[in-house]
Subunit: 332 residues, 2 copies
Amino acid sequence: MSTTNRRIVLISRPQGTPQAENFRTEVVEIPELAEGEVLLRHSWLGLAPAARLRMTEQASYREPMALGDVVYGQAVGRVVASKEPGLPVGTSVMSIGGGWQEYSIGNAENLVKIDEAIAPPSVWLGALGTSGMTAYIGLLDLGKPRVGETVVVSAASGGVGSNVGQIARLKGCRVVGIAGGQEKVQHLTEVLGFDAAVDYRSPNFAEQLRVACPSGADIYFENVGGAVRDAVWPVMNQGGRIVVCGLIAEYNDNRQGGPGWFPILSKRLSIQGFIMSDHLHRQQAFLQDMRQWIREGRIQVQEDVSEGLESVVPAFIRLLTGKKFGKSVVKL
Amino acid sequence: MSTTNRRIVLISRPQGTPQAENFRTEVVEIPELAEGEVLLRHSWLGLAPAARLRMTEQASYREPMALGDVVYGQAVGRVVASKEPGLPVGTSVMSIGGGWQEYSIGNAENLVKIDEAIAPPSVWLGALGTSGMTAYIGLLDLGKPRVGETVVVSAASGGVGSNVGQIARLKGCRVVGIAGGQEKVQHLTEVLGFDAAVDYRSPNFAEQLRVACPSGADIYFENVGGAVRDAVWPVMNQGGRIVVCGLIAEYNDNRQGGPGWFPILSKRLSIQGFIMSDHLHRQQAFLQDMRQWIREGRIQVQEDVSEGLESVVPAFIRLLTGKKFGKSVVKL
C-alpha cells in the first residue's frame, strides 16, 4: 500500500469555464488514522456540476472551497486500513466528499456501504448514487407526475436527466428530452426510449420543442437555465410544475435575468427549487425502487468513462461544456 | 322602477394606463326576464385590477372583453324583479360578473346571497368577497405561514393586501407591508397593526425593506411584480414561498423580464401562481373564519369609496396607478 496520496487541489478560482491552470496535482503523505477513521482507496470518482458552484467565492447553497482544498467530489472505493470496527478492511463504500484524489479518510458518518453484487461500483456514483436519487426525488416527490402528462427534461443525456426521463417513462408520462447535438438526441429516443428529443443547438430549437410537445409541458425538470429554460417557458401548460434542480448554463457566467412572471400567474405555475441533500430520508425508498428497475433492465445506465487522475480535469471541463454523455465517472 | 339601464362599455383597448376615452357610458332598455332569471339593481360596484387584464386582447387566464362589452366587475344589490322562486324580490345578492352598470340580469348559478346583518353590502365586495377570499386562500393554503415567520406583502394597503397582512398577524407572523406613500405606510402600522411598512417610492426602498426584515422573508405575497418584486427577491429566506396573486405593475406595460433563477435553486424557493376561482371549494371555510374575525374586530375593513357611475372610471384609474387606499368600491 502506498504511503502517499495524489490529489487535485484548487489553486485559483475559475472565471467562466474552468481551465487546467485552476488546478494542481500534488503528492502528500497519508496521515495516521484516528480512532473511528478508515482509509479509503478510491476506485472511481464521480464528477458533478455542483463542484463548479463551490469553486466560486459567492455564497451558494454550500460553502465555497478554499484555495488549496482538494476539489469536492464523490468517490467509491475500498477500505484499506481501518480503526472503525463497523468498516473493516475490504468494505466497499461510497464517499460523498471523497474528493478528486486517490485516497481519502472517512468515518461511519460520511461513508455509505455499497453492494457490488447489485451493480458495479461506478453505478453507485450515478444511477444508484446522488444523480439517480436527485432524479427520483425531484421528479416524483416534487414534480408529481401523472399518467399521460408530458415531462420535459433538459441536460437529458446527463447523469440526472437520463434518469429523470427513464423514470418518467416508467410512470406513464410522455417524455421530451433536450440535449446538445444529434448523437445525444438520437440516443435519447433510440436507446433510452424517450418519446422525443430536441437539440438545443439547432437554429429553430424553440420551434422544434413546441412541435415535440403537441399537448404542451406539464412538468419541466430544469437542469440548465438560460436560453433552454426560456424556450420551455412558453410551452408550459396551466397547472404546470417546474422542478429547479440545476442551472448549469448559469454556473460559469452568472446570468442575471429570468423570464417575465406573467405566465406564473395566468397559468398557475409552480416553481420549486431543490437540493437533494434536503431529502435524505427518502434514500431507502429510492434504493429499493432503483435497484429493482436496474435489475429488471427498465433503467439503462449511461456513463462517460475516463481513466486516471490526470483525466479528471479534462472530463470536468467536458461536463460543464455539454460535451459528455451520461454520468461522468473516472476510473482510477 | 326604471326601464332603462346606464352602463359603461369598453370602446377601445387601453395602451398602458386606461384613459377616460377608452370607455363610453350608454343607456339601454332593460330586456324582459326569461324563466330562472332575476333583475338586480346594483347598490355597490367593486373594482379590481383583474378587469385591466380583460381589456387587453392577448390571452390571459380569462377571455378578453370584446369592444362594446359592459366592463367586467363585481356588484352587490337587490333583486327588483324575479322569475326565479329561489331569489324573490328584495333578496340581497353579490354578482361576480355584474359589471359596471346600474342593473344586471342574473340567475341562481351566478348570484350569491349576502347577509347584510353580518356586514354592510360593500364589505361583501371586499373583505367578505373575492378580495378577502383571495387573501385567505393565497396566504393560508398556498403560503402556509408558521408562527414566527416573516410575511412580506406588496400592494399592502389594497383590497387583497390589507387582508393578507391582517390574517398573517392573526396567525402569529411578523408582517411587513409594501405600499406607496407615507400616508399608506403609516396606516399599515398604526391602524392595521403591521409590524413594519416600507414605501416603495422611497429612493432607498430596497435598503429599507432589508432593514424591515431583520430575519429575512419566509413568505412573499406578490401583488405587484416589477421593481417591487425585484427588491424582495434578495430578502427571501431558504425555504421561502412566493405566492403570485397579481402583477399589477406589469398589467399596463407587459414588462418581460424577471429576476435570475439562481436563488430558486440555492434557497430552495417555491413560487406558486394562483387564481382564486380555482379554489371555490374553500368558500365556506373562508366565510366562517372571516365573518368571525370581522365580528370580533380582528380584521379591519378598509375601503376607497366613490359615488355614482360617473366616478367608476376615475376610481379604476386611481386603482391601477396606486393612488387609492383599501378596496375600491363605488356606491350607486
